[in-house]
């Protein structure tokens, strides 16, 4: 069968492929939720990287690292989810929504502009 040293190389290469895909989605991601999802996958795959490092270096303490990364990653994901839910966003999706109904914003802009024009006159 395949020796563990070869298998660990293949497994780490495949996991790094997943990490790179997550990083590309983190950069591309059109909305904030995409970026949070890719951060979630990054932390989860880092736990897998920690478990593979434990086998690669034959040091079992790397599993503690995986446990800590898992804990912190979950807290970070929950915090980011609460954040994007509770804050007004300026993502491209919101801009699309604004351009779809321009009537929502034009009265405010006119009311802001009109006193300034009155002052100029």
């Amino acid at each position: 069968m395949i020796p563990v040293s070869t298998a660990i190389t293949i497994a780490m290469a495949l996991t790094v492929v997943g990490l790179i895909c997550a990083c590309i989605r983190l950069i591309l991601g059109p909305s904030r939720a995409d970026r949070v999802v890719s951060l979630d996958l990054l932390t989860i795959l880092l736990v897998a990287i920690a478990a593979q490092l434990a086998i690669l270096y034959d040091v079992a303490a790397y599993l503690d690292l995986g446990l800590a990364i898992g804990l912190i990653g979950f807290l970070a994901t929950v915090a980011f989810a609460r954040y994007i839910e509770s804050s007004p966003s300026k993502t491209p999706t919101e801009e699309v929504e604004v351009t779809n109904n321009p009537t929502a914003q034009t009265p405010i802009q006119e009311s802001i502009k009109s006193p300034a024009q009155g002052d100029l006159k």
Binding site: A11, A33, D34, A48
Partner: protein, 113 residues
Amino acid sequence: MIESLVSILLIAGGLFAAIAGAGLLRFPDVLMRMHASTKAGTLGVGLSVVGSAFYFTDDMVTTKAVLIVLFILLTAPVAAHLIGRAAYRTKTPLWEPTIIDDQSNPSDQPKAD
């Protein structure tokens, strides 16, 4: 015997990690991307950690591995649910061919907190 089992578990875990990354990159929608990354990512991490537990064959290491797998199995659905709810409530656009949106009826809309 155990060595080949460890090899199979590790390569399967790596494959699922790569599949999770590919799904995250290729799917057209936040919810679909989340579906790929959460399920395949959880399975990939679980297989890798179980593989390391079989490699060390030590009580303490096995305990830690079981803890990691249990924790990820518990928290990954919760995190995905929270992100999905946040994405839906901030009106992140769905995939264009989507035909059913169960929350689109205004009387069913959840009230804002």
